[in-house]
Amino acid sequence: MNLDQAFFLYFAAMIVVFSIVTITRKNPVYAVMALLVVFFHVAGLYVLLNAEFIAALQVVVYAGAILVLYLFVLMLLSVPREALGAAAHRRWPVYALVGGATTFEIALLLARSKFAPRPGPYPPDVVREMGSTQAIGTVLFTEFLYPFEVISLVLLVAMIGAIVLTKKWTPAQGGEEGR
C-alpha cells in the first residue's frame, strides 16, 4: 500500500463512519456536527485528486453555507431538547425505504456505466499546470454554458420559494418577537 492509497482509505473510512454517526444521532445538532466532519473529509478526497477548487467549494458551500442553514432551522424549530428527534425515529421505516431506493438507484447506475480508463482532456498534470480553478472555469463557461445558466433559474426558484413559504408566517407588519 502506498501513501495515496493510505490517505484515500483514511478519508473514505472516516466518511463512512461519520455518515453512520450522522444518521444515528438522536439530537440533530450532533448530526449536523458529524455531517461537518463528513464534508471535510470529502473535501480531503477532492484535494487528494488535485481538484483543489472543488474541495474549496465543498468547504465554502456545503460546510460554510448549507450546513449553517440546517443549524439555523434547528434553532428556529425550538423543540424541547428531550423531544428532539424522537418523532423522526418513530418514522424510521419511511426513511429506510427512501434511503434504500436511492442506494438501489445509485447501484444500478454504477453497474450499468462503464469505467473505462479513458483520460479526459484535463489529466492531473494539465490541471496542475493551469490551476484547477482555471481548468473548471474554462470548461464551465464554454462547454457547459447551458447547464450553468439553468443553475441561476434553479437558484431563483429556491429564493422565491423560501420567501413565499415564510411570508405566510411573518406577522403582517413588524413581528417583533425574538428579533
Binding site: F7, L76, S78, F141, A158, T166, G178
Partner: protein, 123 residues
Amino acid sequence: MPETHLPTQYLPVLLLLALAAGFVVINLVMGSLVRPKRPSAEKLTPYESGIPPIGQAQRRFNVRFYLVSMLFVLFDIETVFLYPWAVLLKKLGMFGFVEMAVFIMILLVGYGYAWKSGALNWD
C-alpha cells in the same frame, strides 16, 4: 520531498490544523492543573442578570433568520461561480461577460422580489 503526485502543498495546512488543535488542548489541560474547581448550584445556573432563570432558553425566533440564511446560501453559490469567471475574464472576453450578466440578472429578479416583499426588512 521524494517524487509524488500527492498534493504536498496541503501538508503544511494539515500540520497547522494539528498544531492549532494541540494548542487548544494543551491550554485546557494546563489550565485544569492550576485552576480551582469549586462548582456550586448558583454558579452553574445560566446568567440572567442575577435573577433566577425563568422558563426555557429555547424559544421561537423570528422566521427571518431562516430567510436570511436561505438567501445567504443562494448568494454564496452565486459568489462561488463568480470566482473562476473573474479569474478567467480576460480570456473569456465579452462572451463570458454577457454570459455572467444573464446569470446574475436572473438572480437579481429573485433579489428584487425579496426586496419588494420585505424579506430584507428587519422592522
